[in-house]
């Protein structure tokens, strides 16, 4: 049986992509406001939890986790991870246009490769057929 995804399941994968990329970028923006954390001032990590950008980032990452777990319940890890790697393309775009980091020609090439990788895995089955239940194999 070839495992293909319903539109609702593609929507879950899209949610994984968007919450991961926006969550990471908001966290990064917040941590830059908090300042560098070193081994001597780890307490700053707790102070970071009061920063609104960090809080918003964490909330988005909770949404990411819920949708990621849902995806893992009906698809292989080696299917979900490459399919949702498009989030790194969005992180690159957000860091260029919002955080004003530089994007070189190499980064644009990297974006093209990721899109290629996503296309590759998305054309295959989403779940491995096991002859014995995974719960026994683990």
């Amino acid at each position: 049986m070839k495992h293909t995804l319903t539109p609702q399941r593609y929507l879950i994968l899209l949610t994984v992509i968007l919450t991961a990329s926006f969550g990471d970028t908001l966290l990064s923006h917040g941590m830059k406001q908090v300042g560098p954390v070193s081994g001597h001032n780890l307490g700053l990590l707790l102070i970071a939890l009061k920063n609104p950008w960090v809080i918003a980032g964490i909330l988005l990452l909770i949404g990411f986790f819920a949708s990621y777990l849902t995806a893992l319940s009906w698809a292989d890890l080696t299917f979900v991870l490459p399919s949702t790697s498009f989030s790194y393309v969005i992180v690159a775009l957000l860091s260029r246009f919002w955080l004003h980091e530089e994007i070189s020609i190499y980064r644009w090439l990297g974006i093209l490769l990721i899109v290629g990788g996503v296309g590759f895995v998305a054309r295959g089955p989403s779940l491995t057929e096991h002859t014995i239940p995974v719960s026994e194999a683990l």
Binding site: P36, V37, L72, D76, Y88, T128, V134, S135
Partner: protein, 129 residues
Amino acid sequence: MTTVGPVETWATIITVAATAIAGDVFTAGAMRRIGDLDEIRAHSGLLGAIKAVTGSGMFLLGVLSMALSFFTLLFTLSNVDVSLAAPASASLTFIGNAAAAKIFLHENVDRRRWMAAALVCAGVALLTR
């Protein structure tokens, strides 16, 4: 904005990747044992699905590893550009996860999936330049 040397930069990035791989494999293994969350939610509601997930010891181990990875990532992001830290740790996590999924989860990591992992890994490596 990177404020630390290359050794500390890569040590924190590798720690983020190693704990992320452990977290991914434990949670994926737990979710495979628990079964399709859409079906569980249809039968037992959202609370039933949450109970099924949070009652799994393997899931809790995964969350612990992910929490470690998260705090290491926070630590890394405060010292290293997000456009280096996020793709570099992800790149390492991709290849590690493909191997770990084959060994521990017995997933069929065929040529297509290795190619996808390699393309994404090369892509995120290029993002760091």
